[in-house]
Symmetry: C2
Subunit: 154 residues, 2 copies
DNA sequence: GTCAAAATGTAGTACAGGCTACAAATTACA
DNA sequence: TGTAATTTGTAGCCTGTACTACATTTTGAC
C-alpha cells in the first residue's frame, strides 16, 4: 500500500492529500475529539446559568443539575480550570474566566438556534430541547449559519 | 433541603416525579450514555459497508477507515462482540449478527436522512456529511420523523 | 460556643477509548 | 519450501468520565 516510512499507524502527518478513506478517517477523528469539548461546553453553560440566576455556582448544584455525583462535578470543574475556562475558590463557588464566559455565550446562542430549528421543523418542544443537548456539540459554523438563514427566510 | 433519606446522590430511583432540575439531569444523562453507543453504531455501519463493498471486513481496514490504530479497532470490535452485534473468526474478518445488521441498517437510514436534511437546509455537501457524523447519534425517533416529514412536504 | 448537618474535597476504583510496543499467525513470493 | 512482509492479536500505559467511600471545612441551630 506504499505507506510512509514510519512505524506508527494513524495518519497524523501532513493531512490533505489523502484518498477517500483519509477523509472519512479525519471526519471520525473530529467527531471523537468533539466529545471531549462537549462536556466542557455543558459545564460552562450551566455555570453561566447558575451565576446569572442564583448569583453563584456551587459544585453541589452543578452536580445535581447535571445528574452526576459531586465528586464527578468537582473533577470536571478541575478540567475547566486547567483549560483556563473557570476559577474556583474553595467553599466559595465556581466562576468563569473571560474565556469561559465567551464559550458559555457561544454555546447558549448555538443551543437556542438548534432548538429553534428543530421546532421549526415540527419537533415538539420537549424532544427538541432533549435532542439539541446532544446535537449542538456537533454543529459546525457553516451549518449553524445555514440554520440561521433558514429560520430567517421562511 | 429535604433530601431523600439515602446516602448516594445521582437520582437512580423511580424517575418521573422530579422538579425541573430532574428533567435537565435526565437529559444530560441520556446525552452521555448516547456517546457510548455512538461508537458501536459507527463500527456497525462501517462493517456493513465493508462487507457489502469488499466482501469482508478486516480489522486493519476498519482501523484505517476510522483513523485509529488497529489495536484500538480490535478492542472496539471486542465490545461489539460482547454486545452481541458482531462475531469474528481470527484472520477471517468480522461479521455482523442479525442484531448488528439491523443496527447498521437503522444507522444507515438515519445517516442519509440527516445528511439530506442538512443539505435541504442549504448546508454544503461536505459539511453536511461531516456534521451528520456527529449529529446522527443524538437524533431521536421523533425528530427523525419530523425530518422525514419536512423533506417530503417541501 | 458547640456540635450536627450539609457542602466540599480527596482517594481509590472501574470502564471506555486511545496509543505504542511486542508477539504470533497468515499470506505472499522468490 | 522457506523466509519476509503483512495482518492480527496481546499487553501495558494514559486520559476522561463516572462512581462510592471517606475526610475535611463551613454553616446553622441550639
Amino acid at each position: 500500500m506504499a505507506r510512509a516510512p514510519v512505524t506508527s499507524e494513524p495518519d497524523h502527518s501532513a493531512a490533505g492529500k489523502l484518498p477517500a478513506e483519509g477523509t472519512q478517517a479525519r471526519r471520525f477523528g473530529k467527531t471523537r475529539s468533539a466529545q471531549s469539548t462537549a462536556l466542557l461546553e455543558d459545564y460552562a453553560e450551566l455555570i453561566a446559568d447558575l451565576l446569572a440566576s442564583e448569583g453563584e455556582a456551587r459544585p453541589t448544584d452543578i452536580a445535581r443539575r447535571l445528574g452526576v455525583s459531586h465528586a464527578t462535578a468537582i473533577k470536571s470543574i478541575s478540567r475547566l480550570k486547567r483549560a483556563g475556562l473557570a476559577t474556583a475558590r474553595p467553599y466559595r463557588g465556581v466562576f468563569l474566566t473571560e474565556k469561559g464566559h465567551a464559550l458559555a455565550e457561544r454555546v447558549r446562542v448555538r443551543h437556542r438556534l438548534v432548538v429553534d430549528l428543530l421546532r421549526a421543523l415540527g419537533v415538539p418542544s420537549e424532544a427538541a430541547e432533549a435532542d439539541a443537548e446532544g446535537i449542538e456539540h456537533y454543529v459546525s459554523e457553516i451549518t449553524l449559519k445555514a440554520f440561521a438563514q433558514f429560520l430567517k427566510s421562511r
